[in-house]
Subunit: 437 residues, 2 copies
């Protein structure tokens, strides 16, 4: 093997992913060097809780709690940022770039909110910011979209990119339990944080979607324009009804190219059971990407966890090892497209989104109800693909309509009008459906 | 966008993939240039049937039937070899390398049989031979394993890497038809060649498996050591029985790391229905890769066809565009591992393979049969996980045994002994089972 000097890494953060990165780099050092052609060594660690790191690392590597000294250490080639958050992490990453260091990060929130600024700074200093671990954990989805599908005009992508919510949805369906009970269980198992808001309200998925959409379509990262709806309002009744109709409910991140612009949305979604992605269960992640040449492709794996995420961090380290001596002009652009070739496609507001819909409502069980609702839907250019009515006793019924493709704005207007009809007994639950074909 | 000169490509072959490559490069020229930072232009085409190519290309590019002039043209940076076969293709590829040109090829047979020689020649001349299209069509599986999973010690991989056989197996199960009828239909639909031997006997899958195993484990390409068994002997009865037992039969390419060496095998295999790969239907491909850090990952998409395969060819062209100015020492090694760091792990003979088994046999229906068979299995260290007996009338019964993990050599010896028992009425059908976990 060639006798190049080892690449020197400074590690910021020694939590779940940081310790996983240490473990993988240590355990597989030889296997990795056989691939990379040189050794990759963590030469310095900074973390707010050094004792924990020292416990694992021993005396092999200096560990302290001063994050900025790692970023300023002239001996370090690459800084790996695994502390999370968007304030200190941003400061550290920008300083590392300013110091001419390459950066590897797993921080989706940071890139979703400040990615454009960070990538511009990196291009300016001709350094690489690599972020495979920021989306879908270990799955090489950034590499696949950015380098594997370069021949394609990408038409859409759809991803299960948050393991916590997929675990909750799987449990709700398999165990027949309501959302609140399953969330509690997920927290006990460590699949959900004590404050689960970012996961269950779709914010984490939206961070990742903003990054994926950027590299798929060649647009800036636009987290603030993603429509976000979580799963906390989801009724067990709808999970059961979806199953009966041949669908699974998944929290999807969707980025879809339309004639007038791009749809960016995160929300629970009915997906036909015969689609592979509908069968991705538990805390696993998967992303489907549709390109005009390749058709549909799917990428599946663990979207979180210590070593799966570390797998992506280390893959990025190997990539940087290979590319850092290359002419910056010929490197893979951070956001897949050349920085001066990004497009300003408009992001469509949710009212302009096109989808088919699942509408459920409680009504008084009397003749004429169906006809009146159908009339309202038709008046908003919404056509019905199927309908089920369940009598609930005491003169009450539950009706589910499935629609063909319609514009969300029209659907919202129709819902408002239907909710005003005198026989309607409940607010209307509306869920979007995607056939993903 | 930067004003680099276009990269000049010479195209050898204008069949299904060649014409697809032309179409994709032409249609998506701007999208591709936005990514690659320069245009990629086919400047010369050679094919044995120029009239067909001229019909598509018109006067835009010179087309002739002299393949060697493309390889010798000093204006051409990259040669794309899409003529197939292993004799002329080998000569052309080696000549292109000798002339200092990079090569992109979709030719799995060529690489399976002569890959080691070709990659050595390329390393020697410091040129790139890219071959994403050679395995699983458009799915970026070479890139994912070679670059996306570099952190991992890969434990095993399992792939549906031949679309023809997966189409046939899907039809046998869904339509309840025997192999011969479905093959005829596949030939009519163009999913199978007039001479389907390479596909149905597993040879095409074995070509791809030899390449995948090499980049997964860092071993030379060893097609001649792959155990190969096709699907032409598969009985409809076993497809039905597998379904009843909770399995699907798939033709898998399996590469498994064991303590004593590597298993390389292609054969029909029972896979539990709840595994994602068991639900890959029709002509689609999928590969599951298990790494020690990432766990299980799966890659799914079209494994053949004009534009899906062209998608991989063009992705390789973009990669070459990016890497051709890079220091050869820092490029991604052809076979994922540095050429001087390949391992000589032994490839295990089929008798040493470890698997669980499905054994079906016809017997005379009388007391003691089960006990006698179980006794033989036990004497060969084979333990039974479950058993089903179906009475067939006229004093005949069909028995299916599922075993726990056993060594193939022991199973073959037990089968021979059981076939000698006086109540056994048929040869024993034995199929391997993989839980893929």
């Amino acid at each position: 093997m060639s006798q190049l000097n080892p690449l020197k890494v400074g590690l910021l953060g020694f939590g779940v992913v940081g310790s996983g990165t240490w473990n993988v780099l240590t355990r597989n050092a030889e296997e990795i060097a056989r691939r990379a052609g040189r050794h990759i060594e963590i030469v310095r660690i900074a973390t707010r809780t050094p004792a924990k790191a020292i416990n694992v690392v021993g005396a092999a590597v200096p560990v302290d709690n001063d994050l900025m000294t790692v970023v300023n250490d002239p001996d370090i080639d690459i800084v790996v940022e695994l502390i999370g958050g968007t304030t200190l992490a941003k400061e550290l990453v920008l300083k590392a770039i300013e110091n001419g260091k390459h950066v590897v990060t797993a921080n989706k929130a940071l890139l979703a909110m400040h990615g454009n600024e960070i990538f511009a700074a990196a291009s300016n200093k001709k350094v690489i910011v690599a972020f495979e671990a920021a989306v879908a954990g270990g799955i090489p989805i950034i590499k696949s979209v950015r380098e594997g599908l370069t021949a394609n005009r990408i038409q859409w992508l759809a991803g299960i990119i948050n393991g916590t919510t997929n675990f909750i949805l799987t449990e709700m369906r398999e165990k027949g339990l309501p959302f609140a009970d399953v969330l509690k269980k997920a927290q006990e198992l460590g699949y959900a944080e004590a404050d689960p808001t970012f996961d269950i309200e779709g914010v984490d998925a939206a961070h990742k979607l903003a990054i994926l959409a950027s590299i798929a379509f060649g647009i800036p990262v636009q987290f603030d324009k993603v429509y976000v709806e979580g799963i906390s309002h989801l009724a067990q009744e709808d999970v059961v009804a979806a199953d009966r109709l041949g669908y699974r409910i998944k929290l999807l991140g969707l980025a879809i190219r339309r004639e007038k612009g791009i749809e960016l949305r995160v929300h629970p979604c009915l997906v036909p059971k015969n689609k592979l992605i509908a069968n991705v269960e538990g805390a696993m992640n998967a992303v489907v990407v549709k390109g005009d040449a390749i058709g549909e492709t799917l990428y599946y794996g663990a979207g979180a966890g210590s070593e799966p995420t570390a797998s992506a961090v280390v893959a990025d380290l190997v990539d940087v090892t290979r590319l850092h001596t290359a002419d910056p002009e010929n490197r893979v652009p951070h956001l897949a497209f050349q920085a001066d070739a990004l497009a300003d496609y408009p992001i469509l507001p949710i009212e302009e989104v096109i989808s088919s819909y699942y509408l459920r409502l409680g009504v008084e069980d009397r003749p004429g109800v169906m006809a009146d609702i159908a009339k309202v839907l038709a008046s908003h250019q919404i056509s019905i693909s199927s309908m089920i009515q369940d009598n609930k006793g005491e003169n009450q019924a539950s009706i589910i309509f499935l629609t063909h493709n319609a514009k969300e704005g029209d659907v919202l207007a129709a819902i408002k009008q239907i909710e005003g009809l005198d026989f309607v007994r409940s607010a209307i639950t509306h869920l979007r459906m995607e056939n993903l074909s």
